[in-house]
């Protein structure tokens, strides 16, 4: 009884071994694999990153390679950098006080309107220089185009369309617009323009070499917009969607004039010193208090919160 069992078992063993060693593709096998099959291919060990640093730190390997004549990796390769926008606003426009407060029909309003761009000589020179490079430049059309660029750029910001935003906005303005907004939802809509946009200021500057001209044009626009920013969880952080606001803005549009393929792009905004304060954000924020010496107590009644100085700044 035991003998036949052993014989069949041996036969079975031989059969399987033969089959395994031959590795013939039988009819019912679905995945014809290689002859030598690794059983475990998942990495199960852990090498800490500090292993191997000792050999590299000694520094003999470099000298040996150089002595042997092996050309290693070339450091200090020259890489051309493309500067397609300036670092800031050159000679910024200082908007006159009470710009949008006076109506155009009153005497002072007419005076302000009369102070047009023709008064400023440097702006005229700059516009002449821009017309040298771009013959189709006209201040009237340009102002409307500037407004269109502004609206499109902000729409791209709400969708967070990076490529479109880069083509409408310079590299200096891009981080200012998008910092902190990656995980927030912005709802912005341009409702209407209250006054036609006007070109107010123009400057041409050179960067690095003398002929490398960049043109910056400031456009003033008065419009009605609505803005609402929601945080990561969908809660309102700033503004409201139903209530629009009248906004007077001074946009700086820039172009690299020497480059024939450059475009007019939004470079920044000028915020005048007399601008009204913005609405506060919905949440409460802690302001750091005064530094107390040990033993001193905080006097809440006599403590004044320091207000920032009214300075023109550009964003």
């Amino acid at each position: 009884m035991a003998m036949p069992m052993r014989r069949t078992l041996v036969a079975l063993h031989r059969a399987t071994c033969r089959r395994l060693t031959n590795a013939e593709v039988s009819l019912d096998v679905r995945h014809p694999g290689p002859l030598f099959l690794p059983v475990r291919t998942k990495k199960r060990y852990f090498i800490p990153p500090a292993v191997g640093m000792k050999a590299k730190m000694e520094g003999f390997t470099e000298a040996k390679a150089r002595a042997a004549g092996i050309v290693g990796k070339q450091e200090n390769i020259e890489r051309p950098i493309n500067i397609s926008c300036t670092a800031g606003v050159f000679d910024p426009y200082i908007p006159p006080e009470g710009d949008a407060r006076l109506s155009t029909l009153s005497k002072e309003g007419l005076k302000q309107r009369a102070e047009q761009i023709r008064q400023s000589a440097t702006s005229q020179l700059a516009i002449r220089k821009i017309k040298e490079h771009d013959s189709l430049f006209k201040t009237r059309d340009f102002a409307e185009r500037a407004q269109e660029i502004f609206v499109e750029a902000h729409n791209a910001l709400t969708q967070f369309n990076k490529e479109k935003l880069h083509s409408l906005v310079t590299e200096r303005c891009y981080p200012e617009m998008t910092r902190g907004n990656r995980y927030k939802t912005i709802r912005w809509s341009f409702i209407e323009s209250l006054e036609p946009p006007r070109v107010v200021h123009a400057r041409c500057t050179d960067m690095v070499t003398k002929g490398n001209v960049y043109g910056q044009v400031t456009v003033r626009m008065h419009s009605r917009q609505s803005l609402a920013i929601y945080d990561r969880f969908g809660r309102l952080m700033l503004g409201s969607e139903e209530q629009p606001k009248d906004v007077l803005e001074y946009l700086v549009i820039e172009r690299h004039l020497v480059n024939p393929y450059s475009r007019w792009r939004l470079h920044g905004k000028i915020v005048p010193s007399w601008a009204p304060a913005k609405d506060p954000i919905i949440k409460t924020v802690m302001i750091p208090g005064p530094k107390l010496r040990p033993g001193e107590e905080f006097d809440a009644l006599n403590h004044e919160v320091p207000k920032p100085a009214a300075v023109q700044w550009y964003k």
Partner: protein
């Protein structure tokens, strides 16, 4: 047992060997097949940190305000995951001030590290995740996981050796805005009543 195997028996055995062979091929399989079992590298997956990147759509004005959730972790802490577990479960469900206070006066090594992690998480909540009051947070989830161990040789007598593990652990914490949820404590009398009720609710089927 019969002295000779029947023809059917031999065919059955051959079948088994065939199935085994095909099974081994499938299991051993091509390397492409094996790699699809683990699509993402599970050794360095940072799924907990990625939970912070989820953006919800803006809420409608009639919806209840969604509480902010902040996920924070620290990886490769030189401590045992089992020892860390006790501390992690101690602070689960407490408000963040309460949790920090408990950890400050705990003598364990992991308590100091956990306190740092909680303070980091609180700062991140206020700065990045639009949380209004830093005390208005509670610990919703807190647990420890196994980190990647280093292996060393531990020498025994008579030329024997053992493989010693240098243990590391990860610590994960989830802070949620709001006051901690109150757990209703069940008294022993309530539990006894519940037990009696369960007994009374039994139905006897197929009875007269």
């Amino acid at each position: 047992m019969a002295t000779t195997m029947t023809g059917r028996g031999i065919a059955f055995l051959r079948n088994i060997s065939g199935v085994l062979h095909s099974r081994l091929q499938v299991l051993g399989g091509s390397p492409q097949q094996l790699s699809c079992l683990h699509t993402s590298s599970s050794l360095e997956s940072k799924a907990w940190e990625k939970k912070n990147l989820k953006v919800y759509p803006p809420q409608l004005p009639d919806e209840p305000r969604r509480p902010a959730e902040i996920h924070h972790s620290r990886r490769q802490i030189k401590y045992s995951k089992d020892k860390m577990w006790y501390l992690a479960k101690m602070i689960q469900g407490l408000s963040i001030d309460e949790a920090i206070a408990q950890l400050e006066f705990n003598d364990k090594k992991g308590a100091k590290i956990m306190k740092e992690v909680l303070l980091e998480a609180q700062e991140k909540a206020v700065k990045n995740h639009n949380v209004e009051y830093k005390s208005n947070l509670y610990v919703a989830e807190s647990y420890s996981g196994k980190g990647r161990y280093l292996k060393r040789i531990r020498y025994h007598g008579r030329g024997m050796f053992g493989i010693m593990d240098k243990v590391y652990c990860h610590y994960f914490v989830k802070l949620v805005e709001g006051s901690p949820p109150k757990t209703v404590e069940k008294t022993s009398l309530d539990q006894a009543k519940q037990y009696v009720q369960n007994l009374k609710n039994r139905t006897i089927i197929h009875s007269l």
